[in-house]
């Protein structure tokens, strides 16, 4: 016959402060785990989601990102016309030759940061299908007009529709704002490719993004691009390119796990202390229960249940805490500013992940079980006579 | 030695007011062994607390060995207690983390004495209660009677004017109880210590000079020597 759940719940509630503190420690472990996992989740999402499944990125062979790559003009002209490149209804090849630059821009607080400016042609909007204008319009060529990502609008004071931005050698006008669904482009400024070439005095491109024609042989197209002896090019699917960038976030996952595991161990010790004290304080009571007829297993399960109740309370509190913290960071701080491989700053929004939630819940469970096990064992194996004698 | 004049004490328990003591007046000369007896709730322990300077009366005054306790503040009472009163309780007397002799040494920490002097006096006190060979035992290793004897040793180690005991035999078996009462008697005789003992134990009457009885906060029998 097991101990009634009500008894266990009442015991946990009666020892109010001890229960609150122990559950609080567990809650913090849960919250930290979730928040860190959300940071990594946000980072990965931003990097991985940026890749379109049907797109290829063409860079100079050996470059790791389009911030440090260079292709001559002729290369773009050739690649555009290759068989296998998709075409728009009007026949225009869906190949976007782009030049990437990192000029200084001054933040709200007056600090100077590198920002990523991508010189593109209008076809870029067709190639980067995740990018949508949400305000204003696309820029017209040669007029120094730019469109900015929502991340830029959030981070820099002067970045509003109609405002003038100073970077590079000239002033530019913001004519539109675009959203790309939380991908890396949200932290970019897009300008006319010729304007950027003039501004940086660079007569070429950083890379080409193109869409593979439906039904075309992607690998054959890649080979065709790389085989051209006039240039040293490398082509790979966008997804693969961004996944490589995201791999650096994997190291962060290891860190997160280590951190959370160490914290969880500390919280387990706290739970053990609490449960041992609970057993010691209720020894006469346990004796009475045993004398009445509750068996060893019932006592063991009873204390284990109390420990798990504490863990459950901690889990719930921790989830709420994490949710509030994520909300605060994402709305008040507009996310976390990160320095990317392209030496520019991007803001990362926290995104709760299933893995993170499972990990946090797992920690809570383990703490509850491990914290309660040994004390519950002791409680169950008290000699009834001894226990009653101490009453 | 002890003068209690028209003392009353009321305290709150929840929403009720309990009149623990009502206009109690008594006098205890020096060197006397007095038992305070009476039914449960009669105010014996409250009176004992007043004599020991643990509590203050609401009306009236308490004078012990010439010191009017009303004239002392909290810190003053604490200091006075440390110097002039030895206390023995029914249980929880001893700190379980200390050995017998270390427990006896405890009150001496409040004096200015050096370490070796403290140890010396504690050993003397322990020998006086016949437990010299148990000096390094922890309370858990001592019987109930032995623990109380250590408590008594601690109570006398500062050579106080007054020894106060609250139900010292309450938790003991018959033989140990008699041992304790005998010990208190001997200390009273040999060192002329005034001893005031609250007790339920009917055996105590044989050992004391005077029995005072309380009932519902009133002194009903001042007793005679």
């Amino acid at each position: 016959m097991p101990l009634p759940l009500r008894y266990n719940v009442r015991n946990v509630l009666v020892r109010r402060w001890t229960s609150v503190f122990t559950a609080g420690g567990i809650a913090l472990v849960v919250a930290v785990t979730m928040l860190l996992a959300a940071l990594v989740g946000g980072l990965k999402h931003m990097l991985v989601a940026t890749g379109e499944p049907e797109n290829l990125i063409v860079l100079r062979k050996g470059s790791t990102n389009d911030g440090s790559s260079f292709l001559p003009r002729e290369a773009a002209q050739v690649v555009r016309q290759l068989a296998g490149v998709a075409r728009a209804p009007d026949g225009e090849p869906l190949a976007s030759a782009e030049i990437v630059n990192q000029p200084f821009l001054r933040t709200r607080e007056g600090r100077r940061e590198n920002v990523l400016v991508r010189g593109v042609e209008p076809v870029a909007l067709l190639v980067h299908r995740s990018v949508h204008l949400v305000a204003g319009r696309m820029f017209r060529p040669n007029l120094g007009e730019v469109v900015i990502g929502t991340g830029i609008a959030a981070r820099y004071a002067d970045a509003r529709l109609g405002s003038r931005l100073e970077f590079g050698r000239r002033t530019w006008t913001v004519v539109g704002i675009f959203d790309s669904g939380g991908t890396a482009f949200d932290s970019e400024i897009w300008a006319d490719v010729t304007d950027v070439q003039d501004d940086t005095r660079r007569p070429g491109y950083s890379g080409i993004r193109l869409t593979v024609a439906p039904g075309a042989d992607r690998d054959a197209l890649v080979r065709r691009i790389e085989a051209d002896g006039r240039f040293t090019l490398e082509a790979k699917p966008e997804r693969a390119y961004y996944r490589e960038q995201a791999d650096s976030a994997n190291a962060l996952y290891v860190l997160v796990l280590t951190l959370a595991a160490v914290m969880a161990t500390g919280a387990t010790f706290g739970a053990v202390n609490t449960m041992y004290a609970a057993v010691a304080g209720r020894t006469p009571e346990i004796g009475t229960l045993r004398a009445i007829g509750f068996g060893r297993t019932a006592i063991l399960l009873g204390f284990l249940t109390e420990s798990l109740l504490l863990a459950a309370g901690g889990l719930a509190a921790g989830l709420v805490l994490a949710a509030l913290a994520m909300l605060a960071v994402n709305t008040l701080l507009s996310g976390i500013a990160f320095s990317m491989m392209t030496f520019s700053v991007a803001t990362v929004l926290l995104r709760p992940t299933a893995a993170g939630t499972l990990l946090a819940a797992g920690f809570a469970l383990v703490i509850g079980v491990l914290g309660g096990l040994a004390p519950a064992w002791r409680a169950a194996h008290l000699r009834v006579v001894d226990a009653l004698h101490r009453a | 030695m002890i003068d209690v004049r028209d003392v009353s004490r009321v305290y709150r328990r929840g929403v009720d007011q309990v009149h623990a003591l009502e206009h109690v007046t008594l006098h205890i000369p020096a060197g006397r062994f007095v038992a305070l007896m009476g039914p449960s709730g009669s105010g014996k322990s409250t009176l004992l607390n007043l004599l020991a300077g643990l509590d203050r009366p609401d009306t009236g005054e308490v004078v012990v060995a010439g010191q009017a306790l009303a004239g002392l503040d909290e810190d003053g009472l604490a200091a006075w207690r440390a110097r002039h009163v030895g206390l023995v309780f029914q249980f929880y007397n001893l700190l379980p983390v200390l050995t017998a002799v270390e427990n006896v040494e405890l009150p001496l920490l409040l004096t200015g004495l050096g370490r070796s002097e403290r140890r010396r006096r504690a050993e003397i006190a322990l020998a006086a209660v016949g437990l010299a060979e148990r000096a390094d035992h922890r309370p858990q290793q001592l019987s109930g009677g032995e623990q109380q004897r250590v408590a008594i040793a601690r109570a006398i180690v500062t050579d106080p004017d007054l020894l106060v005991a609250d139900e010292p035999t309450g938790d003991l078996d018959a033989r140990s109880a008699v041992e304790i009462l005998t010990l208190l008697r001997e200390l009273n005789r040999a060192f002329e210590k005034t001893v005031v003992m609250v007790t339920h134990d009917p055996r105590a009457e044989r050992f004391v000079d005077q029995v005072m009885r309380l009932d519902k906060g009133v002194l009903v029998d001042g007793g005679s020597a």
Partner: protein, 395 residues
Amino acid sequence: MTYPRLILRNLWRHPLRTVLTTLSIALSIFLVCAVLTLPGALEAVFAHWSSDVRITVHHKAGLTYWLPYAFLAKMRNLPHVAAVNHYSWFGGVYDEPKNMFPNFAVDPETVAQMWPDYGIDPAALERFRKIRNAALVGEQTMAKFGWRIGQEITLKGTVFPVDLTLRIVGVIPAASGNPVVLWFNYRYLSEAMEPRFGTALAGPTGVVGMIWLRADSPAHVGEIMRTVDALFRNSEAEVAAETEKSFIQSFTSTFEGLIRVVLAVGFLVVLAVVLIAANTSAMGVRERLPEIAVLKSLGFRRRPILAVLLAESTLQGLVGGVLGSAAAWVILGALNRAGRTAGGAFLGPLGSFHMSAGVAAEGVAVALVVGVVAGAVPAWNGARLNVVDALRRLF
């Protein structure tokens, strides 16, 4: 029998409880030390890059904008300028793309004057000047790839459409604070690029990345910077001059977000352990209320009792702090050493924690604060115990 002995005995009343709590504190302090090394590591970088006579001059628009090569000659003639050099980022890749490390083209002639504090072997500097495709490599990069002096390596260009074969002639010591970088001769790059661009980079119509200036004394730094800014104000390339320290610090704003997160985590870790330790303290005091009542009845006043109770939790914190800091020192140090070896690259960020004595002291200090804060309320409640009420309840 003394107060310290009483404190120690009380802590050992429930050995398992004390050990577990101390371990909790130790674990948390270990994490705190790891967290605190991050800003400290950045501080250490600044400490090295804090020459008070070196000035950087870059294009006002950004680091990706080139300055005219002709500016170098103009700068050499400015008063109080002791030496001029330049940095042009080549961005070459060795072997595999993920083996990225910073490599720059510089002017070998004035390396010795510009960076005397780097402690580069003079014989190596001599070879660097004499040999056209010579390279000086930072100690850490040498170790990472297992290169030797005299070895030839090839860097594949990314922003420059040329591959360069370089001969390593010397090492930049790690003590310089710049242990990763590779330097080679700008003229070598210029020659390689000439056929492509039709003009020499290192020539009157050429360009250069960033310019370094060395002032003849710290007192003249401000004056030089103002002169340089004014000199090129309305030219084809407006410049911004800053001290070396300011230049490096401008990069940290990008790390601020990460540091804020890390510090927040550290704070939460400390909070968690305070809760755990406070719980333990409260349990201990609660169990000892009868004893405290007896002590008070004996005449012990509030303050000594408060002191004893507080000392217990503080001592626990101290021991936990020392254990945690020591563990962090040993483990992070080992990770750091492993990270510097050739095979240690896989450790990634785990291999770059460098813990200083200052961080260890901070860790212990945090532990002390934890001990005090955790024990404060229970100790106060214990000391404040009303003797009469307690006695009445107990007996």
